[in-house]
Amino acid sequence: MSTPATSLWRTAWQQLRRNRLAMVCLGVIAFYALVALTAEGIYWYYRLTDQTPPYKQVNFDNRFAKPSLRHPLGTDSLGRDVLLQVIQGTRIAFEVGILTSLIAIPIAVVLGALAGYYGRRVDDFIVWLYTVFDSIPGLLFILAIAIVVGKGLLGVCLGIGLTTWVGLCRLIRGEYIKHRDRQYVLAARALGVKNFAIMFRHILPNVLHLVIISFSLRFPGAILTEVVLSYLGVGVQGEPSWGIMISDAKLRLWQGHWWELAGATAAMFFIVLAFNLFGDALRDALDPKLRTAEAKTA
Protein backbone atom coordinates (compact mmCIF):
# COMPACT_ATOMS: atom_id res chain seq x y z
CA MET A 1 0.00 0.00 0.00
CA SER A 2 2.99 2.30 0.32
CA THR A 3 3.80 2.36 -3.38
CA PRO A 4 3.93 5.86 -4.78
CA ALA A 5 0.81 6.86 -6.67
CA THR A 6 1.41 6.15 -10.33
CA SER A 7 -0.97 7.30 -13.00
CA LEU A 8 -1.95 5.40 -16.08
CA TRP A 9 0.25 7.72 -18.12
CA ARG A 10 3.34 7.20 -16.06
CA THR A 11 2.91 3.44 -16.08
CA ALA A 12 2.49 3.51 -19.84
CA TRP A 13 5.59 5.67 -20.23
CA GLN A 14 7.62 3.32 -18.06
CA GLN A 15 6.53 0.41 -20.21
CA LEU A 16 7.25 2.31 -23.38
CA ARG A 17 10.74 3.12 -22.20
CA ARG A 18 11.54 -0.54 -21.81
CA ASN A 19 10.64 -1.09 -25.47
CA ARG A 20 13.90 -0.36 -27.25
CA LEU A 21 12.43 -0.34 -30.75
CA ALA A 22 9.77 2.16 -29.68
CA MET A 23 12.44 4.39 -28.21
CA VAL A 24 14.44 4.28 -31.45
CA CYS A 25 11.28 5.17 -33.37
CA LEU A 26 10.57 8.02 -30.97
CA GLY A 27 14.10 9.23 -31.59
CA VAL A 28 13.54 9.14 -35.35
CA ILE A 29 10.25 11.01 -34.97
CA ALA A 30 11.91 13.61 -32.74
CA PHE A 31 14.69 14.03 -35.30
CA TYR A 32 12.20 14.54 -38.12
CA ALA A 33 10.21 16.96 -35.98
CA LEU A 34 13.37 18.96 -35.36
CA VAL A 35 14.14 18.98 -39.08
CA ALA A 36 10.58 20.09 -39.82
CA LEU A 37 10.86 22.88 -37.25
CA THR A 38 14.16 24.04 -38.73
CA ALA A 39 12.65 23.95 -42.21
CA GLU A 40 9.74 26.02 -40.94
CA GLY A 41 12.23 28.59 -39.69
CA ILE A 42 14.10 28.64 -42.99
CA TYR A 43 10.84 28.96 -44.91
CA TRP A 44 9.59 31.90 -42.90
CA TYR A 45 12.98 33.62 -42.82
CA TYR A 46 13.25 33.75 -46.60
CA ARG A 47 9.58 34.53 -47.00
CA LEU A 48 9.66 37.48 -44.60
CA THR A 49 12.94 38.85 -45.96
CA ASP A 50 11.55 38.38 -49.47
CA GLN A 51 14.52 36.42 -50.80
CA THR A 52 14.61 33.29 -52.89
CA PRO A 53 15.23 30.44 -50.48
CA PRO A 54 18.23 28.19 -51.27
CA TYR A 55 16.05 25.17 -52.06
CA LYS A 56 14.45 27.17 -54.88
CA GLN A 57 17.62 28.61 -56.32
CA VAL A 58 17.83 27.52 -59.91
CA ASN A 59 21.22 26.75 -61.40
CA PHE A 60 21.07 25.55 -64.99
CA ASP A 61 24.81 24.96 -65.12
CA ASN A 62 24.52 22.35 -62.43
CA ARG A 63 21.54 20.25 -63.51
CA PHE A 64 21.35 16.60 -62.51
CA ALA A 65 24.51 16.80 -60.44
CA LYS A 66 25.30 13.49 -58.80
CA PRO A 67 25.46 13.32 -55.02
CA SER A 68 28.62 15.04 -53.85
CA LEU A 69 29.93 16.83 -50.83
CA ARG A 70 28.36 20.09 -51.94
CA HIS A 71 25.05 18.43 -52.78
CA PRO A 72 24.79 15.29 -50.65
CA LEU A 73 21.67 14.21 -52.54
CA GLY A 74 22.55 15.79 -55.87
CA THR A 75 20.50 18.35 -57.76
CA ASP A 76 17.34 18.12 -59.84
CA SER A 77 16.37 19.15 -63.36
CA LEU A 78 16.64 22.83 -62.48
CA GLY A 79 19.85 22.44 -60.55
CA ARG A 80 18.17 22.80 -57.15
CA ASP A 81 19.66 21.00 -54.17
CA VAL A 82 17.66 17.81 -53.44
CA LEU A 83 18.57 17.55 -49.76
CA LEU A 84 17.26 21.02 -49.06
CA GLN A 85 14.04 20.11 -50.85
CA VAL A 86 13.71 16.89 -48.85
CA ILE A 87 14.04 18.98 -45.69
CA GLN A 88 11.29 21.30 -46.88
CA GLY A 89 9.24 18.22 -47.75
CA THR A 90 9.51 17.16 -44.11
CA ARG A 91 8.00 20.47 -43.12
CA ILE A 92 5.06 19.94 -45.49
CA ALA A 93 4.60 16.37 -44.26
CA PHE A 94 4.42 17.47 -40.63
CA GLU A 95 2.10 20.33 -41.46
CA VAL A 96 -0.23 17.92 -43.23
CA GLY A 97 -0.04 15.36 -40.42
CA ILE A 98 -0.75 17.90 -37.71
CA LEU A 99 -3.35 19.98 -39.53
CA THR A 100 -5.38 16.96 -40.65
CA SER A 101 -5.31 15.63 -37.10
CA LEU A 102 -6.45 19.00 -35.80
CA ILE A 103 -9.42 18.78 -38.16
CA ALA A 104 -10.26 15.09 -37.93
CA ILE A 105 -9.71 14.32 -34.23
CA PRO A 106 -12.00 17.01 -32.78
CA ILE A 107 -14.76 16.01 -35.22
CA ALA A 108 -14.33 12.34 -34.34
CA VAL A 109 -14.21 12.92 -30.59
CA VAL A 110 -17.15 15.33 -30.37
CA LEU A 111 -19.43 13.36 -32.69
CA GLY A 112 -18.40 10.01 -31.20
CA ALA A 113 -18.98 11.30 -27.67
CA LEU A 114 -22.38 12.77 -28.49
CA ALA A 115 -23.52 9.64 -30.33
CA GLY A 116 -22.31 7.22 -27.69
CA TYR A 117 -23.43 9.20 -24.66
CA TYR A 118 -26.86 10.34 -25.76
CA GLY A 119 -27.79 7.37 -27.96
CA ARG A 120 -31.18 7.28 -29.64
CA ARG A 121 -31.81 9.97 -32.26
CA VAL A 122 -28.48 11.74 -31.80
CA ASP A 123 -26.78 8.40 -32.30
CA ASP A 124 -28.94 7.54 -35.30
CA PHE A 125 -28.08 10.82 -36.97
CA ILE A 126 -24.33 10.62 -36.35
CA VAL A 127 -24.13 6.98 -37.39
CA TRP A 128 -26.02 7.90 -40.56
CA LEU A 129 -23.64 10.79 -41.14
CA TYR A 130 -20.45 8.78 -40.83
CA THR A 131 -21.87 5.90 -42.79
CA VAL A 132 -22.51 8.32 -45.64
CA PHE A 133 -18.97 9.69 -45.38
CA ASP A 134 -17.59 6.19 -45.20
CA SER A 135 -19.41 5.02 -48.31
CA ILE A 136 -17.81 7.62 -50.56
CA PRO A 137 -14.52 6.42 -52.12
CA GLY A 138 -11.94 8.21 -50.00
CA LEU A 139 -9.54 9.44 -52.62
CA LEU A 140 -12.28 10.78 -54.89
CA PHE A 141 -13.83 12.62 -51.96
CA ILE A 142 -10.50 14.17 -51.06
CA LEU A 143 -9.93 15.15 -54.69
CA ALA A 144 -13.38 16.73 -54.84
CA ILE A 145 -12.79 18.77 -51.68
CA ALA A 146 -9.29 19.75 -52.76
CA ILE A 147 -10.61 20.96 -56.08
CA VAL A 148 -13.48 22.91 -54.52
CA VAL A 149 -11.30 24.57 -51.91
CA GLY A 150 -8.50 25.02 -54.39
CA LYS A 151 -5.27 23.15 -54.90
CA GLY A 152 -2.70 23.56 -52.23
CA LEU A 153 -1.97 22.77 -48.61
CA LEU A 154 -5.33 23.97 -47.29
CA GLY A 155 -7.27 21.86 -49.78
CA VAL A 156 -5.19 18.80 -49.03
CA CYS A 157 -5.56 19.19 -45.27
CA LEU A 158 -9.30 19.84 -45.41
CA GLY A 159 -9.77 16.94 -47.77
CA ILE A 160 -7.84 14.47 -45.66
CA GLY A 161 -9.16 15.90 -42.39
CA LEU A 162 -12.81 15.75 -43.39
CA THR A 163 -12.62 12.20 -44.67
CA THR A 164 -10.53 10.37 -42.09
CA TRP A 165 -12.48 10.98 -38.88
CA VAL A 166 -14.87 8.07 -39.34
CA GLY A 167 -12.71 5.28 -37.91
CA LEU A 168 -11.85 7.12 -34.72
CA CYS A 169 -15.43 8.37 -34.37
CA ARG A 170 -16.71 4.80 -34.45
CA LEU A 171 -14.17 3.77 -31.85
CA ILE A 172 -15.00 6.69 -29.55
CA ARG A 173 -18.73 6.08 -29.92
CA GLY A 174 -18.28 2.45 -28.91
CA GLU A 175 -16.22 3.43 -25.86
CA TYR A 176 -18.80 6.01 -24.79
CA ILE A 177 -21.59 3.45 -25.07
CA LYS A 178 -19.54 1.26 -22.75
CA HIS A 179 -18.66 4.01 -20.33
CA ARG A 180 -22.03 5.76 -20.07
CA ASP A 181 -23.40 2.80 -18.11
CA ARG A 182 -20.39 2.59 -15.81
CA GLN A 183 -21.14 3.31 -12.21
CA TYR A 184 -18.73 6.22 -11.97
CA VAL A 185 -20.87 8.03 -14.53
CA LEU A 186 -23.98 7.34 -12.47
CA ALA A 187 -22.09 8.51 -9.39
CA ALA A 188 -21.15 11.74 -11.19
CA ARG A 189 -24.75 12.30 -12.23
CA ALA A 190 -25.84 11.64 -8.67
CA LEU A 191 -23.50 14.45 -7.57
CA GLY A 192 -25.20 16.86 -9.96
CA VAL A 193 -22.55 17.03 -12.68
CA LYS A 194 -23.80 18.34 -16.04
CA ASN A 195 -23.95 16.04 -19.05
CA PHE A 196 -21.28 17.95 -20.94
CA ALA A 197 -18.93 17.85 -17.99
CA ILE A 198 -19.53 14.12 -17.63
CA MET A 199 -18.87 13.59 -21.32
CA PHE A 200 -15.70 15.61 -21.63
CA ARG A 201 -14.27 15.80 -18.13
CA HIS A 202 -15.18 12.43 -16.70
CA ILE A 203 -15.37 10.03 -19.63
CA LEU A 204 -12.94 11.60 -22.11
CA PRO A 205 -9.83 11.05 -19.94
CA ASN A 206 -10.82 7.39 -19.86
CA VAL A 207 -10.75 7.11 -23.65
CA LEU A 208 -8.00 9.64 -24.36
CA HIS A 209 -5.45 6.92 -24.95
CA LEU A 210 -7.42 5.94 -28.05
CA VAL A 211 -7.10 9.48 -29.36
CA ILE A 212 -3.35 9.44 -28.84
CA ILE A 213 -2.94 6.04 -30.45
CA SER A 214 -5.09 7.15 -33.34
CA PHE A 215 -3.01 10.30 -33.75
CA SER A 216 0.24 8.41 -34.07
CA LEU A 217 -1.27 5.84 -36.42
CA ARG A 218 -3.04 8.32 -38.70
CA PHE A 219 -0.04 10.63 -39.04
CA PRO A 220 1.79 8.40 -41.56
CA GLY A 221 -1.48 7.81 -43.41
CA ALA A 222 -1.91 11.55 -43.87
CA ILE A 223 1.68 11.90 -45.08
CA LEU A 224 1.20 9.13 -47.63
CA THR A 225 -2.10 10.59 -48.83
CA GLU A 226 -0.46 13.98 -49.29
CA VAL A 227 2.22 12.34 -51.40
CA VAL A 228 -0.42 10.64 -53.54
CA LEU A 229 -2.35 13.89 -53.95
CA SER A 230 0.75 15.84 -54.89
CA TYR A 231 1.66 13.09 -57.29
CA LEU A 232 -1.79 13.47 -58.85
CA GLY A 233 -1.26 17.20 -59.11
CA VAL A 234 -3.78 18.53 -56.59
CA GLY A 235 -1.33 18.74 -53.74
CA VAL A 236 0.82 21.51 -52.38
CA GLN A 237 1.68 24.11 -55.02
CA GLY A 238 4.96 25.89 -55.44
CA GLU A 239 6.65 24.24 -52.49
CA PRO A 240 8.80 21.12 -52.60
CA SER A 241 6.77 18.31 -51.08
CA TRP A 242 7.85 14.68 -51.20
CA GLY A 243 4.98 13.86 -53.50
CA ILE A 244 5.92 16.54 -56.00
CA MET A 245 9.54 15.44 -55.89
CA ILE A 246 8.62 11.83 -56.54
CA SER A 247 6.25 12.88 -59.31
CA ASP A 248 8.95 14.98 -60.99
CA ALA A 249 11.68 12.43 -60.52
CA LYS A 250 9.83 9.47 -61.99
CA LEU A 251 10.25 10.90 -65.51
CA ARG A 252 13.99 11.02 -65.19
CA LEU A 253 14.58 7.74 -63.51
CA TRP A 254 15.28 5.99 -66.84
CA GLN A 255 18.03 8.53 -67.47
CA GLY A 256 19.78 7.19 -64.41
CA HIS A 257 18.98 10.17 -62.16
CA TRP A 258 17.96 8.11 -59.14
CA TRP A 259 18.91 10.44 -56.29
CA GLU A 260 15.88 12.70 -56.34
CA LEU A 261 13.44 9.80 -56.15
CA ALA A 262 15.59 7.98 -53.60
CA GLY A 263 15.92 11.03 -51.35
CA ALA A 264 12.22 11.73 -51.11
CA THR A 265 11.23 8.07 -50.87
CA ALA A 266 13.75 7.27 -48.15
CA ALA A 267 12.74 10.33 -46.14
CA MET A 268 9.12 9.24 -46.34
CA PHE A 269 9.89 5.59 -45.68
CA PHE A 270 11.68 6.15 -42.37
CA ILE A 271 9.16 8.53 -40.85
CA VAL A 272 6.20 6.37 -41.86
CA LEU A 273 7.90 3.26 -40.52
CA ALA A 274 8.84 4.99 -37.29
CA PHE A 275 5.30 6.30 -36.74
CA ASN A 276 3.73 2.92 -37.45
CA LEU A 277 6.05 1.01 -35.12
CA PHE A 278 5.78 3.65 -32.43
CA GLY A 279 1.99 3.74 -32.77
CA ASP A 280 1.83 0.00 -32.22
CA ALA A 281 4.06 0.19 -29.17
CA LEU A 282 1.98 3.08 -27.85
CA ARG A 283 -1.17 1.05 -28.25
CA ASP A 284 0.40 -1.83 -26.37
CA ALA A 285 1.40 0.47 -23.54
CA LEU A 286 -1.84 2.43 -23.30
CA ASP A 287 -4.45 -0.19 -24.04
CA PRO A 288 -3.63 -3.17 -21.82
CA LYS A 289 -6.90 -4.92 -22.66
CA LEU A 290 -5.98 -5.03 -26.31
CA ARG A 291 -2.57 -6.45 -25.47
CA THR A 292 -3.94 -9.34 -23.46
CA ALA A 293 -6.47 -10.04 -26.19
CA GLU A 294 -3.64 -10.27 -28.70
CA ALA A 295 -1.57 -12.44 -26.39
CA LYS A 296 -4.47 -14.86 -26.07
CA THR A 297 -4.96 -15.23 -29.78
CA ALA A 298 -1.23 -15.60 -30.41
Partner: protein, 326 residues
Amino acid sequence: MTTNSPTEVLLRVIDLRVSFFTDEGEVRAVDGVSFEIRRGETLALVGESGCGKSVTALALTRLVPSPPGQYRGGQVLLDGEDVLTMSKQRLREIRGARISYIFQEPATSLNPVFRVGFQIKEALQLHRPELATDDEVVRLLELVGIPDAAQRARAYPHQLSGGQQQRVMIAMALACHPALLVADEPTTALDVTIQKQILELLRDLKQKLQMSILLITHNLGIVGDLADRVAVMYAGRIVEHGPARTLLTRPLHPYTQALLKSIPRLGAQRERLVSIPGVVPNPARLTTGCKFHPRCPLVQPACSAEPEPSLEERDGRAVRCPYVMP
Protein backbone atom coordinates in the same frame (compact mmCIF):
# COMPACT_ATOMS: atom_id res chain seq x y z
CA MET B 1 -35.31 26.32 4.44
CA THR B 2 -37.50 24.79 7.10
CA THR B 3 -36.53 24.23 10.72
CA ASN B 4 -34.78 21.11 11.85
CA SER B 5 -37.12 19.42 14.28
CA PRO B 6 -36.56 15.68 14.68
CA THR B 7 -40.05 14.52 13.72
CA GLU B 8 -40.29 16.63 10.62
CA VAL B 9 -40.69 14.81 7.33
CA LEU B 10 -37.74 15.36 5.00
CA LEU B 11 -38.80 13.27 2.06
CA ARG B 12 -42.24 12.02 1.18
CA VAL B 13 -42.73 9.57 -1.66
CA ILE B 14 -46.33 9.25 -2.76
CA ASP B 15 -47.55 6.49 -5.07
CA LEU B 16 -44.32 6.40 -7.08
CA ARG B 17 -44.56 4.47 -10.34
CA VAL B 18 -41.59 3.75 -12.60
CA SER B 19 -41.81 1.52 -15.65
CA PHE B 20 -39.29 0.19 -18.10
CA PHE B 21 -40.29 -0.28 -21.70
CA THR B 22 -38.63 -3.36 -23.12
CA ASP B 23 -39.26 -5.80 -25.93
CA GLU B 24 -41.50 -7.75 -23.57
CA GLY B 25 -43.66 -4.70 -23.03
CA GLU B 26 -44.07 -2.47 -20.02
CA VAL B 27 -42.25 -3.66 -16.92
CA ARG B 28 -43.57 -1.98 -13.81
CA ALA B 29 -40.41 -1.93 -11.72
CA VAL B 30 -41.92 0.34 -9.10
CA ASP B 31 -45.68 0.20 -8.84
CA GLY B 32 -47.25 2.51 -6.33
CA VAL B 33 -44.63 2.89 -3.62
CA SER B 34 -45.22 5.38 -0.81
CA PHE B 35 -43.08 6.10 2.21
CA GLU B 36 -41.60 8.98 4.11
CA ILE B 37 -38.30 9.67 5.76
CA ARG B 38 -38.04 12.03 8.71
CA ARG B 39 -35.00 14.10 9.53
CA GLY B 40 -32.25 12.12 11.21
CA GLU B 41 -34.06 8.85 10.61
CA THR B 42 -32.82 5.73 8.86
CA LEU B 43 -35.24 3.84 6.70
CA ALA B 44 -34.22 0.47 5.31
CA LEU B 45 -35.73 -0.65 2.04
CA VAL B 46 -35.40 -4.42 1.90
CA GLY B 47 -36.11 -6.94 -0.80
CA GLU B 48 -34.70 -9.50 -3.20
CA SER B 49 -32.86 -8.58 -6.38
CA GLY B 50 -35.20 -7.11 -8.94
CA CYS B 51 -37.89 -6.05 -6.50
CA GLY B 52 -37.52 -2.40 -7.47
CA LYS B 53 -35.66 -1.10 -4.45
CA SER B 54 -32.72 0.32 -6.38
CA VAL B 55 -35.00 1.88 -8.97
CA THR B 56 -36.92 3.52 -6.13
CA ALA B 57 -33.64 4.88 -4.76
CA LEU B 58 -32.56 6.26 -8.14
CA ALA B 59 -35.98 7.78 -8.76
CA LEU B 60 -35.57 10.01 -5.69
CA THR B 61 -33.38 12.32 -7.77
CA ARG B 62 -34.70 11.24 -11.18
CA LEU B 63 -31.61 9.19 -11.93
CA VAL B 64 -33.42 6.26 -13.55
CA PRO B 65 -31.96 6.00 -17.06
CA SER B 66 -34.53 7.14 -19.54
CA PRO B 67 -35.03 5.43 -21.92
CA PRO B 68 -35.87 2.67 -21.14
CA GLY B 69 -37.17 3.96 -17.80
CA GLN B 70 -40.17 6.22 -17.52
CA TYR B 71 -41.90 7.85 -14.57
CA ARG B 72 -45.53 6.83 -14.73
CA GLY B 73 -46.86 8.77 -11.79
CA GLY B 74 -46.55 9.76 -8.19
CA GLN B 75 -44.58 12.40 -6.40
CA VAL B 76 -41.24 12.61 -4.64
CA LEU B 77 -41.50 15.56 -2.29
CA LEU B 78 -38.24 16.81 -0.85
CA ASP B 79 -39.09 19.53 1.66
CA GLY B 80 -42.40 19.81 -0.18
CA GLU B 81 -40.82 20.27 -3.62
CA ASP B 82 -41.60 17.62 -6.25
CA VAL B 83 -38.38 16.14 -7.63
CA LEU B 84 -40.16 14.45 -10.53
CA THR B 85 -41.38 17.72 -12.05
CA MET B 86 -38.62 20.19 -11.15
CA SER B 87 -36.26 21.74 -13.73
CA LYS B 88 -32.99 20.05 -14.62
CA GLN B 89 -31.14 23.03 -13.18
CA ARG B 90 -32.87 22.66 -9.81
CA LEU B 91 -32.36 18.91 -9.97
CA ARG B 92 -28.59 19.35 -10.28
CA GLU B 93 -28.65 21.63 -7.27
CA ILE B 94 -30.33 18.90 -5.25
CA ARG B 95 -28.20 15.98 -6.43
CA GLY B 96 -25.18 15.68 -4.23
CA ALA B 97 -26.13 18.66 -2.10
CA ARG B 98 -29.48 17.61 -0.57
CA ILE B 99 -29.56 13.92 -1.52
CA SER B 100 -26.41 11.99 -2.24
CA TYR B 101 -25.65 8.39 -3.00
CA ILE B 102 -23.22 5.65 -2.29
CA PHE B 103 -23.39 2.62 -4.51
CA GLN B 104 -22.80 -1.08 -4.30
CA GLU B 105 -19.47 -1.34 -6.12
CA PRO B 106 -17.05 1.22 -4.75
CA ALA B 107 -14.39 0.02 -7.21
CA THR B 108 -16.42 1.10 -10.21
CA SER B 109 -18.07 4.15 -8.65
CA LEU B 110 -14.81 6.05 -8.62
CA ASN B 111 -13.37 7.39 -11.85
CA PRO B 112 -10.27 5.25 -12.46
CA VAL B 113 -8.14 7.99 -14.01
CA PHE B 114 -8.33 10.62 -11.26
CA ARG B 115 -6.77 10.73 -7.82
CA VAL B 116 -9.37 10.24 -5.09
CA GLY B 117 -8.62 13.60 -3.47
CA PHE B 118 -9.32 15.31 -6.77
CA GLN B 119 -12.66 13.54 -7.04
CA ILE B 120 -13.72 14.62 -3.56
CA LYS B 121 -12.65 18.15 -4.36
CA GLU B 122 -14.79 18.10 -7.47
CA ALA B 123 -17.82 17.15 -5.40
CA LEU B 124 -17.08 20.15 -3.19
CA GLN B 125 -16.63 22.44 -6.16
CA LEU B 126 -20.08 21.56 -7.43
CA HIS B 127 -22.02 22.65 -4.39
CA ARG B 128 -19.69 24.31 -1.90
CA PRO B 129 -16.94 25.88 -4.02
CA GLU B 130 -15.70 28.04 -1.15
CA LEU B 131 -14.71 24.85 0.68
CA ALA B 132 -12.96 23.11 -2.21
CA THR B 133 -9.52 23.02 -0.62
CA ASP B 134 -7.00 20.30 0.07
CA ASP B 135 -7.53 20.82 3.80
CA GLU B 136 -11.23 20.10 3.51
CA VAL B 137 -10.52 16.98 1.44
CA VAL B 138 -8.15 15.70 4.12
CA ARG B 139 -10.69 16.56 6.82
CA LEU B 140 -13.38 14.56 4.98
CA LEU B 141 -11.07 11.58 4.51
CA GLU B 142 -10.25 11.67 8.21
CA LEU B 143 -13.95 11.90 9.01
CA VAL B 144 -14.58 8.61 7.23
CA GLY B 145 -11.66 6.99 9.03
CA ILE B 146 -8.96 6.83 6.38
CA PRO B 147 -5.54 6.78 8.03
CA ASP B 148 -2.76 8.95 6.64
CA ALA B 149 -5.39 10.95 4.78
CA ALA B 150 -3.12 13.55 3.22
CA GLN B 151 -1.15 10.86 1.45
CA ARG B 152 -4.14 8.68 0.58
CA ALA B 153 -5.76 11.65 -1.13
CA ARG B 154 -3.07 11.36 -3.79
CA ALA B 155 -3.83 7.70 -4.48
CA TYR B 156 -5.68 6.41 -7.50
CA PRO B 157 -8.81 4.33 -6.83
CA HIS B 158 -7.15 1.03 -7.80
CA GLN B 159 -4.51 1.57 -5.13
CA LEU B 160 -7.09 1.47 -2.33
CA SER B 161 -8.76 -1.58 -0.80
CA GLY B 162 -12.49 -2.12 -1.29
CA GLY B 163 -13.27 -0.83 2.19
CA GLN B 164 -11.17 2.28 1.67
CA GLN B 165 -12.78 2.88 -1.72
CA GLN B 166 -16.19 2.76 -0.08
CA ARG B 167 -14.98 5.17 2.60
CA VAL B 168 -13.86 7.54 -0.16
CA MET B 169 -17.29 7.23 -1.76
CA ILE B 170 -18.87 8.07 1.59
CA ALA B 171 -16.56 11.07 1.94
CA MET B 172 -17.63 12.25 -1.51
CA ALA B 173 -21.28 11.75 -0.67
CA LEU B 174 -20.95 13.65 2.59
CA ALA B 175 -18.82 16.45 1.15
CA CYS B 176 -21.76 18.80 0.71
CA HIS B 177 -23.69 17.92 3.88
CA PRO B 178 -26.66 16.18 2.28
CA ALA B 179 -29.88 15.96 4.25
CA LEU B 180 -30.39 12.45 2.95
CA LEU B 181 -27.80 9.80 2.17
CA VAL B 182 -29.03 6.99 -0.05
CA ALA B 183 -26.87 3.94 0.53
CA ASP B 184 -27.63 1.41 -2.20
CA GLU B 185 -26.26 -1.95 -1.03
CA PRO B 186 -23.25 -0.17 0.49
CA THR B 187 -21.64 -3.32 1.88
CA THR B 188 -22.64 -6.03 -0.58
CA ALA B 189 -19.34 -6.03 -2.46
CA LEU B 190 -17.22 -6.02 0.70
CA ASP B 191 -15.81 -8.63 3.07
CA VAL B 192 -17.88 -9.35 6.15
CA THR B 193 -15.40 -7.69 8.52
CA ILE B 194 -15.26 -4.60 6.33
CA GLN B 195 -19.07 -4.62 6.09
CA LYS B 196 -19.29 -4.20 9.83
CA GLN B 197 -16.79 -1.33 9.81
CA ILE B 198 -18.67 0.50 7.08
CA LEU B 199 -22.00 0.05 8.85
CA GLU B 200 -20.49 1.36 12.09
CA LEU B 201 -19.07 4.29 10.19
CA LEU B 202 -22.48 5.09 8.72
CA ARG B 203 -24.08 4.90 12.15
CA ASP B 204 -21.47 7.22 13.66
CA LEU B 205 -21.74 9.70 10.82
CA LYS B 206 -25.50 9.73 10.99
CA GLN B 207 -25.34 10.79 14.61
CA LYS B 208 -22.53 13.26 14.03
CA LEU B 209 -24.07 14.93 11.02
CA GLN B 210 -27.77 14.59 11.88
CA MET B 211 -28.67 13.28 8.46
CA SER B 212 -31.26 10.82 7.26
CA ILE B 213 -30.26 7.59 5.58
CA LEU B 214 -32.16 5.46 3.12
CA LEU B 215 -30.49 2.05 3.31
CA ILE B 216 -31.18 -0.23 0.40
CA THR B 217 -30.29 -3.84 1.03
CA HIS B 218 -31.29 -7.42 0.44
CA ASN B 219 -29.66 -8.42 3.69
CA LEU B 220 -32.06 -8.22 6.63
CA GLY B 221 -29.13 -9.13 8.86
CA ILE B 222 -27.56 -5.67 8.60
CA VAL B 223 -30.84 -3.80 8.90
CA GLY B 224 -31.14 -4.16 12.65
CA ASP B 225 -27.80 -2.40 13.22
CA LEU B 226 -28.73 0.76 11.44
CA ALA B 227 -32.39 1.21 10.63
CA ASP B 228 -35.12 2.93 12.62
CA ARG B 229 -37.82 1.76 10.29
CA VAL B 230 -38.01 -0.93 7.63
CA ALA B 231 -40.02 -1.23 4.43
CA VAL B 232 -40.04 -4.61 2.70
CA MET B 233 -40.52 -4.55 -1.05
CA TYR B 234 -41.75 -7.31 -3.31
CA ALA B 235 -42.42 -7.04 -7.05
CA GLY B 236 -42.35 -3.26 -7.08
CA ARG B 237 -44.58 -2.75 -4.04
CA ILE B 238 -44.13 -2.33 -0.34
CA VAL B 239 -45.59 -5.41 1.36
CA GLU B 240 -44.72 -4.56 4.93
CA HIS B 241 -43.64 -1.42 6.70
CA GLY B 242 -42.93 -0.73 10.34
CA PRO B 243 -40.45 0.11 13.10
CA ALA B 244 -37.27 -1.93 12.70
CA ARG B 245 -37.36 -3.58 16.10
CA THR B 246 -40.92 -4.91 15.99
CA LEU B 247 -40.76 -5.78 12.32
CA LEU B 248 -37.61 -7.84 12.79
CA THR B 249 -38.77 -9.61 15.92
CA ARG B 250 -42.40 -10.06 14.93
CA PRO B 251 -42.70 -10.02 11.15
CA LEU B 252 -46.25 -10.14 9.86
CA HIS B 253 -46.21 -10.63 6.12
CA PRO B 254 -45.40 -14.20 5.03
CA TYR B 255 -42.71 -12.80 2.74
CA THR B 256 -40.97 -10.93 5.56
CA GLN B 257 -41.18 -14.05 7.71
CA ALA B 258 -39.61 -16.10 4.95
CA LEU B 259 -36.85 -13.52 4.44
CA LEU B 260 -36.00 -13.57 8.14
CA LYS B 261 -35.92 -17.35 8.23
CA SER B 262 -33.46 -17.39 5.37
CA ILE B 263 -30.77 -15.50 7.31
CA PRO B 264 -28.11 -17.88 8.59
CA ARG B 265 -27.44 -17.52 12.32
CA LEU B 266 -24.49 -18.60 14.44
CA GLY B 267 -25.21 -21.30 16.98
CA ALA B 268 -28.14 -22.80 15.13
CA GLN B 269 -26.32 -25.65 13.43
CA ARG B 270 -29.05 -28.20 13.50
CA GLU B 271 -31.70 -25.92 12.15
CA ARG B 272 -32.02 -26.20 8.39
CA LEU B 273 -31.69 -22.90 6.58
CA VAL B 274 -35.02 -22.10 5.01
CA SER B 275 -35.18 -20.81 1.48
CA ILE B 276 -38.19 -19.25 -0.16
CA PRO B 277 -39.58 -21.66 -2.76
CA GLY B 278 -39.92 -20.46 -6.32
CA VAL B 279 -38.13 -17.58 -7.98
CA VAL B 280 -38.40 -13.83 -7.96
CA PRO B 281 -41.32 -13.10 -10.27
CA ASN B 282 -40.67 -11.65 -13.71
CA PRO B 283 -42.03 -8.13 -13.36
CA ALA B 284 -43.21 -8.24 -16.97
CA ARG B 285 -45.60 -11.10 -16.18
CA LEU B 286 -47.03 -10.67 -12.71
CA THR B 287 -49.88 -12.79 -11.38
CA THR B 288 -53.26 -11.46 -10.46
CA GLY B 289 -54.11 -10.66 -6.87
CA CYS B 290 -51.34 -10.79 -4.28
CA LYS B 291 -48.05 -10.91 -6.16
CA PHE B 292 -46.46 -13.20 -3.58
CA HIS B 293 -49.17 -15.89 -3.50
CA PRO B 294 -47.41 -18.40 -5.83
CA ARG B 295 -44.57 -18.65 -3.30
CA CYS B 296 -46.58 -18.10 -0.13
CA PRO B 297 -46.76 -20.86 2.51
CA LEU B 298 -50.08 -19.49 3.78
CA VAL B 299 -51.70 -19.20 0.36
CA GLN B 300 -55.52 -19.20 0.30
CA PRO B 301 -57.79 -19.71 -2.73
CA ALA B 302 -58.83 -16.05 -2.58
CA CYS B 303 -55.22 -14.81 -2.83
CA SER B 304 -55.16 -14.91 -6.62
CA ALA B 305 -58.37 -12.90 -6.92
CA GLU B 306 -58.36 -9.25 -7.85
CA PRO B 307 -58.12 -6.71 -6.46
CA GLU B 308 -54.70 -7.05 -4.95
CA PRO B 309 -54.77 -6.58 -1.16
CA SER B 310 -53.97 -3.04 -0.08
CA LEU B 311 -51.43 -1.91 2.48
CA GLU B 312 -53.44 -1.84 5.72
CA GLU B 313 -52.02 0.21 8.54
CA ARG B 314 -52.52 -0.07 12.30
CA ASP B 315 -50.38 1.01 15.28
CA GLY B 316 -47.57 2.27 13.09
CA ARG B 317 -47.25 -0.98 11.21
CA ALA B 318 -48.54 -1.69 7.75
CA VAL B 319 -48.89 -4.95 5.88
CA ARG B 320 -50.27 -6.00 2.52
CA CYS B 321 -51.95 -9.28 3.46
CA PRO B 322 -55.52 -9.64 4.78
CA TYR B 323 -54.70 -12.83 6.75
CA VAL B 324 -52.03 -11.38 9.01
CA MET B 325 -53.54 -8.05 10.01
CA PRO B 326 -51.34 -6.06 12.39
